[in-house]
Assembly symmetry: C2
């Protein structure tokens, strides 16, 4: 899995408009807010199950109803298509 | 729920030796490492259920098999007995 070049990242970013790029296109970031902790952790659980299934895990933190997520591919030291796939999954779960 | 004074915190800290105090006794911190993501998130799920039950939620982050936790009581702007109760619960879950 190769790290994506800047020119490859820009078009992919349009598929996940809720996400922002980290410095040097090193990661994708999104902060989500839910009604309460129950909803926030329910969301995290759905993402966790998918993440382990595809063996691609988020870097994330949670405080009550807020979840901050950063995605990158450790082995590639940057972004790969796996990060965009997981971002798209997260967006679909967040909409429900 | 009142913020605990430094003199009250020191004896309570002995009940949770795996935890360290933040600056100005503002929080309790612990980092836990598990075999893999499945174990780390399984642990988080057990803590989440308990946290919501007692309406006292951790501030935490997770990267693969690592979980970093900070506990404090928002309303008291510092540590209360609730934080030590949750820390003790977390220690019991972590041992299993």
């Amino acid at each position: 899995m190769n790290r994506l070049a800047k020119s490859q990242i820009q078009p992919l970013l349009k598929s996940v408009p809720s996400w922002t790029l980290g410095v040097n296109e090193a990661c994708l970031k999104r902060t989500l807010q839910f009604k309460d902790f129950n909803e926030a952790f329910g969301f995290m659980t759905r993402v966790a199950i998918q993440a382990d299934k595809i063996d691609h895990h988020p870097n994330w933190s949670n405080v009550y109803n807020k979840v901050e997520i950063e995605l990158w591919t450790h082995d590639a030291e940057g972004l790969t298509t796996k990060d965009f796939e997981l971002a798209q999954f997260i967006d679909r779960v967040a909409l429900k």
